[in-house]
């Protein structure tokens, strides 16, 4: 146990956690943007599966890995637009539409992907940044990956800057928090909700392609391994804040790596350990919702700010212009 813990913190493991988190990083940013605008896209896991397939098929057929990502983004965007259309135009329940789309996309990707199972993978080429990658520790951890990993972290920072440092970002918060007020200020609430849900879907799609073209490589029966659902929980853990959500993704990756490291020591638990992140997700959600704890933390504004997790006020609701 102690050995595993020490192994955990060697440079190579940390670097692999940083690199492996890229897929979830894209998807988590996508879902955060979508929910921030007020639309819950519950189909994440199915969306990621379908776009992982779309990305792999396009990259495989054209033999160009870079064409896979836009294809996956389009797939994710289409699914997200179905959720947006159903909830905004037809006033259907977002959760219902999202769940049905999850089921449909999962089966659809299995059906369409049958002939691609086990095909030779097309991977994103490694690209270590000259100079920076030779810095001890920080070099291998941060600058010895590939373009998609760098892009994932750039997306996190860009999402944060956009949301909290620009006027458009303020509008995005407005349509999720107080759509009436945003409307009164002349912001086209529903049009922007379509836009941000589609944008979020595109990022979820890129996350899916990051699975099949980088993190896991290749198409198998269930490449996302239910991690799409974890994305939804991380968004809550992250309190709908891009940077906190990013920390959540890294913590999750660390926990997963730790659990897998334990397998050689406890071989009888080999099937159980990889699913530790799921009960951990429940524990974390209990903590961020624990009223007594939050009350106590109110005395320490800094800690409170770390643990607060209040959803956008108008999340999951409809907005109608009267």
């Amino acid at each position: 146990m102690i050995n595993a813990l020490v192994d955990m913190f060697d440079t190579a493991t940390i670097a692999s956690i940083v690199a492996g988190a890229s897929a979830l990083m894209f998807a988590t940013m996508g879902e955060t943007i979508s929910e921030k605008a007020g639309v819950i896209n519950l189909s994440v896991d199915g969306s990621m599966m379908l776009s992982a397939l779309a990305g792999f098929v396009v990259a495989f057929e054209t033999d160009n890995v870079w064409l896979g990502f836009p294809a996956a983004a389009v797939a994710g965007m289409i699914v997200a637009l179905v959720v947006a259309f159903g909830s905004i135009k037809l006033s259907l329940n977002q959760v219902a539409v999202g769940f049905v789309l999850f089921a449909l996309c999962t089966e659809l990707s299995r059906f369409l992907g049958q002939s691609y199972v086990g095909r030779p993978p097309v991977g994103v080429p490694a690209w270590d940044i000259p100079g920076l990658s030779s810095i001890p520790f920080f070099g291998p951890v941060l600058f010895d990956h590939n373009l998609m990993v760098y892009l994932a972290y750039i997306t996190v920072i860009a999402t944060y800057l956009f949301m909290y440092r620009t006027r458009r970002g303020l509008e995005l918060q407005g349509i999720g928090e107080r759509p009436e007020a945003a409307h009164a200020r002349g912001v086209p609430v529903n049009r922007l909700r379509y836009f941000y849900t589609a944008l979020g879907g595109a990022l979820i799609g890129i996350g899916g392609a990051a699975f099949s073209l980088d993190v896991i490589l290749g198409w198998s029966d269930r490449p996302t391994r239910n991690l799409g659902w974890i994305v939804l929980a991380i968004v809550i853990f992250g309190g709908w804040h891009p940077l906190r959500a990013a920390i959540g993704v890294l913590l999750f990756g660390a926990l997963q790596a730790y659990a897998i490291n334990l397998v050689p020591e406890y071989p009888s638990l080999s099937q159980v350990l990889p699913s530790i992140p799921f009960p951990a997700m429940i524990v974390v959600l209990v903590i961020v919702n624990w009223k007594a704890l939050l009350k106590w933390l109110d005395r320490y504004p800094f800690l409170r700010a770390i643990l607060r997790s209040d959803p956008p006020t108008a999340i999951g609701t409809r907005f109608e212009v009267n």
Binding site: L42, G86, K89, L90, S91, L92, V95, A96, V97, F99, V100, L101, A103, L104, T106, E107, L108, R110, F111, L112, Q114, N226, W229, L232, A233, I236, S268, L269, Q271, V272, P274, S275, F278, P279, M281, I282, L285, V286, N289, W290, K291
Partner: protein
């Protein structure tokens, strides 16, 4: 007009998309349909072996119908019980435990096994409810997390404490003692007891919301929790009640899987029927009696599509695609009809206003 459209439009979407997919996969659309019918109820009707197929289809129908009955209760309470898969699994595990450990006379054992299934599912459902009411964890994530916990517990039992004698295998445990099986019709895998319980559950749920104060209050909690609370309904207790009812029914679905259909514990013991039941209930629009035919149709697809790979080289997930497209287009069809109706109403109102 809009009523017709709300049926025809989705139907056209279903047919068009499934036919399109099959052409894409390189088969004609007729053959898979034939194989699904042939594999699930036999074609021509009453052919040799049809009884066995119908028996299998009914034994798939039982867990879907039971889970649907439970889900109607949680949906009416306004809860998304995605944890239903875990509740089915825990029911199966609890039943399996009794079947392995206890030897009493057959009728008592069968009763105990069913009871254990109900209790196992109930407790797992209650846990989702407690996480929701006391822990503030949204039932979607609490339930989902517990699904995966139950799933890995099954795998652990199969390769660990309940491993097959001799060769260790991830395919499943040894068959349970025969005395614990749900009584079936001779060689056919159909258990009239299980079918009866499923029908009873659906009637019970219908009665609950049609004729009892408890059901009415539960519905009120689902529609508007703050108002119900102000009216003096202990909302949390009602939510827990809904999760317990649903969990118990789902647990019996697990019993039917473990001791009716498979007669041993396998890793995928729930058969994904919990998630399938969510689709069934959404398509049935929460009406218990509509669940009966719809879940039978879904069971036919589930049983029939398993032979698609062997006979046509078409992936069996075609069945799942068909179910998903069906539910999605029905939802959007109804939504579209509602949207049109609302638009016409406001148009005529505007006319009356100006005139």
């Amino acid at each position: 007009m809009s009523r017709v459209n709300s049926v025809l439009l989705p139907a056209a979407v279903v047919v068009a998309s499934v036919v399109g997919l099959l052409l894409l996969a390189g088969t004609n659309p007729w053959d898979p349909l034939k194989i699904i019918v042939e594999g699930s109820i036999g074609w021509p009707p009453l052919e040799e072996g049809a009884a066995r197929k119908v028996g299998d289809t009914f034994m798939v129908w039982v867990p879907i119908a039971l889970a649907s009955a439970g889900l109607i209760v949680t949906f009416n309470a306004g809860m998304w019980n995605i944890g239903i898969e875990g509740q089915i699994i825990m029911g199966a595990i609890a039943s399996a435990w009794i079947a392995r450990e206890i030897s009493v006379s057959r009728p008592i054992l069968v009763f105990l096994v069913i009871l254990a299934g109900a209790v196992g599912g109930l407790l797992w459902g209650l846990l989702v409810g407690v996480l929701r009411t006391a822990g503030g964890v949204n039932e979607i994530f609490g339930g989902l997390g517990l699904d995966f916990v139950a799933l890995s517990l099954t795998t652990y039992l199969i390769i660990g404490p309940w491993a097959r004698s001799g060769v260790a295998s991830t395919s499943g445990t040894d068959p349970f003692p025969e005395d614990s099986y749900l009584p079936a019709l001779g060689a056919i895998k159909l258990s009239p007891l299980a079918v009866g319980i499923a029908l009873l559950a659906l009637v019970g749920v219908w009665l609950l919301f049609k004729g009892t104060l408890y059901g009415l209050k539960l519905k009120a909690v689902g529609r508007n929790r703050p108002s119900s609370f102000l009216l003096g309904i202990p909302t949390n207790r009602y939510l827990l009640g809904a999760f317990m009812i649903c969990g118990a029914l789902a647990g019996v679905a697990g019993t039917s899987q473990a001791l009716g259909f498979h007669q041993r514990l396998i890793p995928a013991i729930s058969g994904n029927y919990g998630f399938l039941a969510i689709l069934v209930v959404l398509l049935a629009r929460f009406r218990p009696f509509l669940v009966i035919p719809i879940s039978f149709f879904f069971a036919m697809i589930a049983v029939g599509s398993s032979s698609l790979q062997l006979r046509l080289d078409v992936n069996p997930s075609l069945g799942g695609v068909l179910q998903g497209v069906l539910v999605l287009s029905a939802m959007f069809g109804l939504g579209w009809a509602g949207y049109r109706a609302l638009k016409e109403m406001s148009a005529s109102e505007a006319k009356a206003g100006s005139g």
